[in-house]
């Protein structure tokens, strides 16, 4: 049993000494101060993020089309006419909710990533649901994005129970300061949420290699389902990963954000989405506090560098 009395007495000082960022401090001292609210739409709306990424030369899955109104839903077949594979996702979704991956489209039949085959009606229904705000934050009307499917590199193949992990990089003042990848497990139901039992792997910001792997807050050595050795993870093209994250700073103007990056087998790292309020679980995966890293950036890191220079500075 967790000893609350002892925890209240001793832990706050210890956590502070370790530079652990709490939720209140994140919201008040980091997000509210560094992320101007008017910039939020740039990252909350995936269409806008994508437009910006293209403008700044950041690699991202190509946009096939956007469906904004119910009457346009019927146009979806015209849009994907020349695509045998594509992804449908809500522009304002979060945490992968409402994402439908179609890995094969032929003869009016759509094969989902899970292997299930659906017809046009079900696709139509799904897009309608997206538009009505089923997956958007706060249930507001949303638009549906149709984009190119990512062909995931098989670096993570042995490390994930279902789905393909992405790399989350936390960027503060343009400097990538912390990174992790989340590996789904059977227990987490194929989802990448740490509190549901997914494995969090902290990645060394200089090398992209495993720093620490945790499940349920405890360090582990092997993936519980695939039995792969977790300390052997090394993300290829690490510099490119960091560069995408660093460029997003100029792109959005946000002082603090998380960038989710996937590795495409052919096109290399691609920016999937940005998050202006990234969660704090990354600290547990890294066994390290974010505040520490933030203070270091404030104190020592040079200002007014280009993204390339910043990444070079981080890589040392």
């Amino acid at each position: 049993m967790f000893n609350w009395f002892k925890a209240i007495k001793e832990l706050p000082a210890l956590l502070r000494a370790n530079g652990i960022l709490g939720m209140n401090a994140r919201n008040y001292a980091v997000i509210a101060r560094h992320n101007s609210r008017r910039l939020y739409p740039l990252v909350d709306d995936k269409v806008k993020t994508k437009d910006l990424a293209v403008k700044f030369g950041v690699n991202t899955p190509d946009l096939i089309g956007v469906i904004e109104h119910q009457y346009q839903v019927a146009d979806v077949l015209k849009m994907v006419k020349n695509h045998s594979e594509f992804v449908v996702k809500p522009a304002h979704g979060s945490g992968g909710k409402g994402v439908m991956v179609i890995k094969n489209y032929a003869d009016n039949q759509f094969t989902l990533a899970s292997g299930r085959i659906i017809g046009y009606n079900e696709l139509y229904q799904h897009i309608s649901n997206i538009l009505s705000g089923l997956y958007s934050l706060g249930g507001q009307y949303d638009s549906a994005l149709i984009e190119e499917m990512v062909h995931f590199s098989d670096v993570f193949k042995d490390y994930s129970y279902h789905g393909v992990p992405d790399v989350r990089v936390i960027v503060y003042q343009g400097y990538p300061i912390m990174a992790m990848t989340r590996l789904a497990t059977q227990e987490s139901g194929g989802r990448a949420n740490l509190h549901q039992g997914a494995v969090g792997v902290g990645l060394d910001i200089k090398t992209g290699k495993t720093k620490l792997a945790v499940q349920h807050n405890l360090p582990i050595e092997i993936h519980p389902d695939t039995k792969a050795e977790l300390r052997k993870i090394e993300v290829p093209l690490w510099r490119e990963h960091l560069l995408i994250a660093a460029k997003a700073y100029e792109m959005t103007g946000l002082g603090y954000f998380g960038a989710d990056i996937v590795l495409d087998a052919r096109k290399g790292p691609m920016m999937l989405e940005l998050n202006a309020r990234p969660g704090l679980a990354i600290q547990i995966a890294n066994g390290e506090g974010l505040k520490q890293a933030i203070k270091k950036v404030d104190k020592y890191y040079p200002k007014n560098l280009s993204p390339e220079e910043r990444v070079a500075y981080v890589l040392g």
Binding site: L11, Q125, S128, S132, L134, N217, L218
Partner: protein
């Protein structure tokens, strides 16, 4: 873009300093508001007579005696006994409505006189009394003469003696209590039953008791008064008084308990009659009683006027119409509920469904009562979830789906209220007080979390929300909290600054200590 870059230049530590200055300003405002609240509360207590305890709020009664009779044209004289020199209750306001009558008040009665009145007559005597506590059992009055021995024939006297000796064996503190208990036994002792007439009124019962007690040499008399119970038109309640140890003691003729009961107003003592009407017939008297909700406020306005501090009072919320005051009273509980929600979320770190959902659950619990609310809410949400699961198979769009849930909630509430009424289940009737839209959203959110993150998460969020709701309920349903938040409504200002200060709290949440504890151990 330039502006943003400039903004970014401000360093983390410098920012922390800046927040400290915000905190400093807010702290000063908090201290100022505390001082203001203190002064204002002192003023209200001292000059307006607002009480610190909520109890006195409830003890002011408006009592109306309504005398009705048919005048026959001859000169009329009506004598009405009134409460007098009563230490148990203090008369605040007295009001006589008798059109065309001359009234004259003496220590214990009012005399109405008139000539040339014909037809139905209505006389009203209204008083407002409030409990001024002490002085309950000290009923001083002149000593009675030794009671006359009743003139009874021998067999009756023997019967009476038998009853009295039987009553000695009953549990009780004294002879009077023992006898009263005997009179109220079910079934009656056969000896007593044969002594009593077949049918008798409460007054006749008391008179027989008096007769019996007089045999023992105890002086007694019948008094009339009112049990203070709201709303009813009632006839006066009778009490038995006995002169023991050189003082009159009052006994409840139903229980035998000695002493004036709480909330009992003695109207008339001794054998004198309550109402005498000369020059009229078919006379009757009815009482109506009403407990005044904002009575301390009424008291306060009177006190304020007496002390010539009425100006400020007239300009305060306590001079608004009662209905507005009652709404404000309800509103002024919200800030403390909000404070608790903020504390539980930002300092403790409880995850709940929606920010203020728990607060609204608590609000409806106040209307329904705790257990009724809890049972009803759980039932509505469980049934709603069941229906929602069936509905999720239909793949409806968001707005129509949530609308359907709203309608289902209304139907469930209607059914519960109907069944509750017809089967006389009080708990089920309470369901009508639940906020429909909020309940529907709770169901919708719970079912979405259930589908996406599993039953465990859904139940934990549901139970967290309910738990926070219950905590908030116990805070806002507290009499003292309700009373203070309204009567000393400056507290709202203090709460405002506390909430704003909590907005600058950057420390760890309690639940985060557990979450991040492993990070420390590893070091």
């Amino acid at each position: 873009m330039n502006k943003i870059k400039q903004f970014k230049k401000v360093k983390f530590n410098a920012l922390i300093k800046k927040f400290r200055s915000v905190r400093f300003v807010l702290s000063i405002l908090l201290v100022l508001s505390l001082i203001y609240t203190g002064i204002s509360a002192y003023y209200k207590v001292k000059y307006w007579g607002f009480s610190i305890s909520p109890k006195q709020n409830t003890n002011v009664w408006a009592i109306e005696a309504h005398v009705n009779f048919i005048a026959d044209g001859s000169p009329i004289e009506v004598n009405l006994a009134i409460p007098s020199k009563n230490k148990g209750f203090k008369i605040l306001e007295e009001n006589i409505i008798a059109n065309g009558y001359k009234t004259q008040k003496s220590a214990d009665k009012i005399t109405f006189t008139a000539r040339n009145m014909i037809g139905e007559q209505d006389l009203y005597y209204k008083i407002m009394v409030f409990d001024n506590t002490n002085g309950k059992d000290k009923l001083k009055d002149e000593a009675p003469k030794a009671p006359k021995k009743p003139n009874l024939d021998e067999t009756t006297l023997a019967q009476a003696q038998q009853i009295l000796s039987l009553s000695e064996q009953i549990d009780g503190n004294d002879a009077i209590e023992k006898l009263i208990v005997m009179f109220n036994q079910e079934p009656l002792d056969p000896a007593l039953k044969s002594y009593l007439p077949v049918q008798y009124t409460p007054k006749q019962k008391l008179e027989i008791m008096q007769q019996l007690l007089s045999i023992k040499g105890i002086s007694t008399r019948i008094s009339r008064g009112l049990k203070l119970e709201e709303g009813q038109k009632i006839t006066p309640d009778l009490m038995l008084e006995a002169y023991i140890d050189k003082a009159w003691h009052i006994y409840d003729p139903d229980t035998g308990i000695r002493g004036l009961p709480d909330n009992f107003l003695l109207f008339q003592r001794g054998g004198k009659s309550l109402l005498d009407v000369i020059g009229g017939e078919d006379s009757s008297i009815k009482f109506s009683l009403q407990k005044s909700i904002t009575s301390t406020m009424n008291l306060a306005s009177r006190r304020a006027k007496l002390l010539r501090k009425a100006g400020l009072y007239n300009f305060s919320i306590y001079n608004l119409p009662l209905s507005s005051q009652n709404s404000l009273k309800w509103l002024s509980v919200f800030p403390i509920a909000i404070l608790f929600v903020v504390l539980l979320r930002n300092v403790i770190g409880v995850r709940t469904m929606g920010t203020f959902t728990p607060m609204l659950i608590a609000m409806s619990f106040v209307q329904t009562g705790f257990w009724a609310g809890l049972v009803c809410f759980s039932f509505i949400v469980s049934l709603g979830l069941l229906i929602r699961f069936v509905m999720s198979k239909l793949n409806l769009l968001l707005v129509p789906r949530i609308s359907a849930v709203v309608i289902f909630v209304i139907l469930i509430i209607t059914a519960l209220t109907f069944l509750g009424y017809n089967l006389n289940i009080k708990i089920a009737q309470a369901s009508v007080y639940f906020p429909i839209i909020i309940t529907a959203w709770v169901i919708e959110r719970a079912s979405i979390i259930w589908e996406e993150d599993g039953a465990k998460n859904a139940w934990s969020e549901l139970s967290n929300s309910l738990l926070v709701g219950i905590i908030v309920y116990f805070v806002i349903s507290n009499d003292y909290v309700q009373h203070w938040m309204f009567v000393f409504n400056e507290i709202n200002l203090v709460i405002l600054f506390i909430v704003m200060l909590l907005g600058t709290y950057t420390g760890y949440r309690l639940t985060e200590l557990k979450r991040f504890a492993p990070l420390v151990k590893r070091k």
